[in-house]
Symmetry: C2
Subunit: 257 residues, 2 copies
DNA sequence: CAGTGGTCTAGACCACATC
DNA sequence: ATGTGGTCTAGACCACTGA
């Protein structure tokens, strides 16, 4: 194991592998490739070098590089197609743009494709709950966005989205101007942040006055509240959001594996 | 004793490949191994033959068998430990007994370990909603069980569990007698049914009179309702359940990948 | 100690996509 | 025709487990 062309050279300092079990080569390759994707060396939607090329570059066998890329593909970071190549996952492309949306109507359609209307976008201090999710100091600067999703012209879901200014500075104008149905496309295009993992917590409670007003229901009506933290490829929390809806027409769907 | 129960057609013998792309060998091996596990050839908690043995048996290379087993492990069907072997996943053993429970208290503990009290167990016709989930005819025979989970001596979750009599005949006595915290252990031990996949739908609504009574809350209080269908290794729906709880102390947690 | 899974290599042939 | 990923082989060495 002397090849060791692997060294990010940047932030990390793992040139002293004296641990009894150093990270397997394919894991080192994977970590290195992830960093290169993160750094923007290969843009979303475009292809990585072939296994052969990478194997030559790292001076490893093709099988080792293959295993690294296979894990990346399994995590949804890249997608592979025989005869074509390996492509960086893109929310902008047609590759599963709304894969994190688990709210469906009763006919099994995703609540994401229909009309979305923006209620407000404003820069403000992050409230305590979002700050906790984003692992930020209380009242750090950020942007808050409230919007509404519809189903057959009826409002069914209120979303409050909070983004920290550190990772996504000055995002409000783009949100106001473009009102994109997928925030994650924007994060990818403008900030090179690829959301690869989300954690969601669901609760039931009564609708607040504002929610009742927006959803056209009575205050106190039982609603489902889904709180989400979205993490970037690097593992940093980049977005906090809360989704609230009355569940006679929609539900939250989860399938194991 | 089976040599080449699979059918790849060899390298140069009569290659009557009708299909343009026959299933890869490792997929055939996987399917065959899954069947053998299903048939009870290796009991849950005990080990499969080693990769070497299986490779010899199937007359394939170790790498091919390895790939089959790796996929089985990824699906949670077996678990592998270096130096020990490959073991059939067991709910009875200590291998992730409550891995499908996604309800947690606010300190991150699973709502499954504390006391469970049974309200009633009875054989009866399956109600329409459960029948739909279990893919059974309306009012097919079955067993219904209502129980209560506690958190620090307070009731926090009502569960109604419905099982069809076709797959799990005469299960009521065992439920009454043992009142097991994990139904899936019982299904595995007494019916050779291994639950490997669940689909859950969450909604918010007001508590019914009975639920309010059991949970010690007011009727109409917003509660989270999680409806679950559990599928066996063979893909058949074996259990329908609904879990209802007030969510000031608990929540539903979901992590992508 | 012998046996297990985990890693790694260096080849081979294939189906497929693109030019 | 060329290059891609997908499959498959037949070895090798390692760390870990258990007797």
């Amino acid at each position: 194991m002397n090849r060791r062309a692997l060294d990010p050279g940047g932030s990390s300092s793992d040139s002293d592998d004296l641990r009894p079990s150093p990270l397997p080569l394919y894991q080192q390759v994977k970590r290195h490739l992830v960093q290169r994707v993160l750094a923007g060396e290969w843009k979303p939607g475009l292809s990585l070098p072939s296994e052969q090329k990478l194997a030559q570059e790292y001076k490893l066998s093709q099988g080792t590089v293959r295993k690294a890329i296979e894990e990346m593909a399994q995590e949804g970071l890249v997608s592979r197609r025989a005869g074509r190549g390996t492509f960086v996952t893109s929310h902008s492309g047609n590759y599963e743009p709304f894969r994190f949306h688990r709210l469906f109507d009763n006919e099994g359609r995703r609540i994401a494709t229909d009309a979305v209307s923006f209620v407000r976008v404003e820069d403000k201090h992050i409230h305590a709950r979002a700050a906790a999710g984003l692992e930020l100091d209380h009242s750090a600067p950020g942007t808050e966005c409230v919007r509404l999703r519809h189903l057959e012209d009826e409002p069914v879901l209120v979303e409050q989205i909070v983004l920290g200014a550190r990772l996504t500075p000055n995002i409000a104008p783009a949100l106001e101007r473009e009102r994109p149905p997928s925030i994650y496309q924007l994060l990818e295009r403008d900030y090179n942040l690829l959301v690869t993992r989300v954690v969601e917590r669901a609760r039931a409670r009564g609708a607040t006055h504002e929610e009742a007003d927006l959803l056209n229901i009575a205050e106190g009506t039982p609603v489902l509240e889904v709180e989400r933290v979205a993490y970037s490829l690097g593992g940093e929390p980049v977005e906090w959001r809360i989704m609230v809806g009355e569940t006679s027409k929609i539900h939250y769907l989860q399938t194991s594996d």
